[in-house]
């Protein structure tokens, strides 16, 4: 299968750079798979799992939180606010984050902040389900 160039970077470091066959990206308006010669798209990411297919039997899954995906002629670039390989992912930390989000929601005063906190909580819960699966 044809490959294209994919890069995953977080502010702290470059997590992945290389040729891949397909990448599943958790866009804010739904998941989508990017393959070679995908039409140029730019989207905001939500918290979720990025699935990288390097070769038929070589897959890796990473958890990302917030950021952007940029599909251009040169390939796909993911700018993640935070990215962790799933193997290193800590369910205790996720539980902590969910708790924080719940507190944020309880503390939110304005409508806007409340909506933001609720969205975040939804995303985290979704993620918890994804990790458990």
């Amino acid at each position: 299968m044809a490959t294209f160039h994919f890069e995953l970077v977080s502010p702290e470091k470059l997590l992945f750079s290389g040729e891949v066959e397909a990448v599943v990206v958790p866009g804010v308006e739904g998941q989508f798979t990017v393959m070679k010669d995908h039409a140029p798209v730019m989207t905001v990411l939500k918290a979720g799992i990025v699935e990288i297919d390097e070769a038929p039997n070589k897959k890796s899954r990473l958890f990302v939180r917030g950021g952007f995906a940029d599909v251009a002629a040169g390939g796909l670039t993911l700018l993640a606010e935070q990215a962790t390989p799933l193997e290193q992912f800590d369910s205790a930390r996720l539980a902590q984050e969910i708790k924080n989000a719940e507190e944020d929601l309880a503390d939110a005063t304005s409508d806007e902040a409340q909506k933001l906190a609720a969205d975040k909580l939804d995303q985290l819960n979704e993620l918890k389900a994804a990790v458990a699966a």
């Binding site: 470091k13 798209v41 989207t43 905001v44 940029d70 002629a73 670039t77």
Partner: protein, 288 residues
């Protein structure tokens, strides 16, 4: 003429100082390696961010968001001066402050209002003498061993909140770029309105945006500011350690020279004293 005891004490104290500077140099060298790695690891993200921003901005026609194009005024300038928390690193802090001070004076002579936000205590101490009234805040990062993105993000948010409240029109970040151990370049970088790197792939390809172009810009621009600050802080951390390393290396060498000089004086006066005693004994014996 100092006595032999004085000389011995002086040599001992210089030796003790030399040990300290030597230790500081080695600590700085170890920290430098880590800081340099962190700065290098952060580079790809910032570079990709620049490209993405350039791509997006080239598609913006007319008036975009205020963070990108400014609010049309340039009356009140906010200078974000990032320096170290500690001294003993040569001219590192002073050179950043000097650059900021020149800018402040230039802006003031043009009749603009200047506000200063200090990151790091050393810059605050130096600027306070001259511009006490202009300093709006001091951000202290002393407790941190390693700067993470989560430390830079609140600073970015704070600056944006100030901008939204209309407290300033233009923001500039002052920091020191790390070139090598002996060369750090004090740099001023404009944060708001965003400086868009030239050479974005002019929108030949029809981009699709999810959700919309404006929404993406609205999330990307604040993020970009945090990233710029983060990059500045990392470069600063590496520069600081580099500057300290070379300053302490010099200090160690100077201490070595001083010890050598003092030892020569000590030996000379010791010999002179022995000779004097000998002469006294011999002339005493001859007199008998």
């Amino acid at each position: 003429m100092p006595s032999l005891k004085d000389l011995r004490n002086r040599i001992a104290s210089v030796k003790a100082t030399q040990k300290i500077t030597k230790a500081m140099q080695m600590v700085a060298a170890a920290k430098l390696r880590r800081a340099q790695q962190a700065a290098e690891a952060a580079r790809p993200y910032a570079e990709r961010m620049d490209t993405v921003l350039a791509n997006l901005a080239s598609g913006v026609s007319g008036d975009g968001p205020a963070l990108l194009t400014g609010n049309g005024k340039s009356e009140v300038h906010l200078l974000v001066v990032a320096t170290a928390e500690r001294g003993l690193c040569g001219g590192f802090n002073s050179s950043i402050v000097r650059l900021a001070r020149e800018r402040i004076l230039a802006l003031q002579s043009e009749g603009k209002t200047v506000k200063i936000l200090c990151i790091g205590k050393k810059g605050y101490d130096q600027l306070r003498r001259q511009f006490e009234k202009q300093i709006v805040d001091l951000i202290d990062l002393r407790a941190l061993r390693q700067i993470g993105f989560e430390n830079a993000d609140p600073i970015g948010k704070k600056i944006i909140a100030m901008f939204d409240r209309g407290e300033f029109d233009v923001a500039t970040l002052f920091y020191s770029k790390f070139r090598s151990v002996i060369l750090q370049i004090p740099t001023a970088q404009q944060l708001i309105p965003a400086e868009v790197p030239a050479g974005g792939e002019a929108s030949t390809a029809a981009y699709e945006y999810e959700p919309g172009q404006d929404e993406i810009l609205a999330t990307l621009l604040p993020r970009n500011i945090s990233v710029q600050i983060f990059r500045g802080l990392l470069e600063n951390a590496a520069s600081e350690q580099g500057a300290r390393m070379s300053a302490m290396d010099n200090a160690t060498r100077n201490a070595g020279e001083m010890i050598k000089k003092q030892t020569t004086i000590y030996n000379r006066s010791r010999q002179a004293m022995i000779t004097k005693e000998l002469i006294e004994i011999i002339s005493g014996a001859e007199a008998l």
